[in-house]
Amino acid sequence: MRSRLLLLAVLLTSSVSALVTMIAPNEAGAIPAFSRQTGESCSTCHTAFPKLNQTGQNFRTNGFRFPEDKEWFDVQDMKHVPISGEVEVEAEFNKEHGVGAGGQEALLKIDEVALLAGAPIGKEGRFAGYGVLSFAEGNVNVGQAYGQVNDLIGQQGHGLLNAKVGQFDIALPFLSSTQRVIKQRYFAQEAMGILGARGDGGSTESEAVEYYNTGVELNGQVVSKEAGGITHRYAIGMFQPKSLGGINHLGFPGLYASYSINFLERFTIGAIYKRDVVNSALNPLIPEGKRGVDKWGIAGEVKLGPFIATAGYFRSDGLPETGNGVLTNATHNRSLQNYMAEVLFIPHDIPFLPNKKLVLGGRFDHIDQELAQSSSRTTFMGRYYIAPSVYLQGEWRVHDGGSVAGTPALDSFGARGFLVALY
């Protein structure tokens, strides 16, 4: 019986894949706003959406401009409305195991409907704006929303130094919460608030709503014109701490700096430092009960043929003193260490595999927590592009160990299925 079911499943999957391959258009019929504006295909900037390749990172830092363009447009002169839409449907399955495990959960939902807008504005491209408005979890949410003044110094269109203000992703240029191909969050974001912002506490199991810091940043890049040359990216800024209570948010700004270098077009190394500010009511000697927490991390990425391998080490210091000797249970007050490794396989020019239509990946993410059980997540994913901007994605998630950022402490496994369409 089981072998018949397996055979039926294989036949059904093969038939659906064959049908999808036959009916799928070979060229992009509907492509998002940046692609429409620039005339370039999605894969010019993305290795796999939403992960940016070197060209995409240059384009983003440069205020959504290619230096060769030389001339940009006022909004009323643009050939295309700089707005895209995204619809994401998700199927979820979760099952805990061990003592005290609850029943299994299964659910199908419209995960997110979003409008995304972005463009350089003005004939000299001096200003760039980007914003995301989404409907998820029953609420309208503002995602990233920022403005950037380009080319404060240096040649026009090269983004040597820019000033950015608003709500955005503070992370490494090549490794950030907004560039996750595997949708499972990183511990370095969810528990530590390094690769992007943490939520305000509680479970962040759902990935529908994303979190960002509000801040001011000076950023820039020096891009090699030669193939295989060296590209530098840098950013320094101040942000409004996400988990800070009270009303005087601007009185206790967080600070951050990041730097990354890319060489030989396949190796990238980066480092990030954040000084977050958290409530520390346990220490009565600190004014207004606030305390700085140092966080830092290093990461590297290597591109080998169709493989992209990324590894990182991130660390968040705990509070150095706790007043009465009691350690608070808040995750951001514990000392945390995180190791992660991820591999993506994106076939191109490989016999018997559909080129630019398939992405496979896996990630191992481990966190050690002061005075709490360590925790690991292993995730495997597969993606199939029905069209250049429409894909199906499946993820298998295994969680071993302790509670992190409000998620249950029990071992568990889960499955996710996504249908994502961008227009």
Binding site: E68, L304, S376
Partner: protein
């Protein structure tokens, strides 16, 4: 063996088993049909044609092919196969006008390049004008 050990084993095997040299993808530019290969450019490279083609090249081609035609535009950083160097005189002499026209019209190998076809967006005269302009880089 724990899940973590399996993961590291898979990661190590993948990285060890994929030598860096394996990234060099061969150029497999499609060859135009015979009737195109024998075609001569019917549009003369007048100043007016070159001026119009230069504007077209700047807006549509320079991001990959480079402002000076050397194939090192800003959008080529992650391309497995880089665009050809139009400033290489001997290389360009070996490529017939009809081959260039056919690639501009129909695109190159979609599996390994980003070069798409422009026959629905540009007129034949515009495409031949672009060939006049491309050839001016090597002069």
């Amino acid at each position: 063996m724990s899940m973590r050990n399996i993961w590291w084993l898979v990661l190590g095997a993948v990285l060890a088993g994929w030598p860096i040299t394996a990234d060099a993808t061969d150029r497999k530019t499609p060859t135009a049909p015979e009737e195109f290969l024998t075609m001569a450019n019917p549009v003369a490279p007048t100043a007016e044609i070159l001026k119009e083609a230069a504007a077209l090249y700047d807006s549509r081609c320079s991001k990959c092919h480079g402002s000076n035609g050397n194939g090192k535009g800003s959008a080529t950083k992650d391309l497995h196969v880089k665009p050809r160097d139009y400033t290489d005189k001997s290389l360009m002499q070996a490529i017939p006008d009809g081959q260039l026209f056919w690639i501009i019209a129909n695109g190159s190998d979609p599996d390994i390049t980003e070069m798409k076809g422009y026959k629905r967006k540009l007129s034949e005269e515009q495409m031949w004008g672009l060939i006049d302009y491309i050839r001016s880089f090597g002069r």
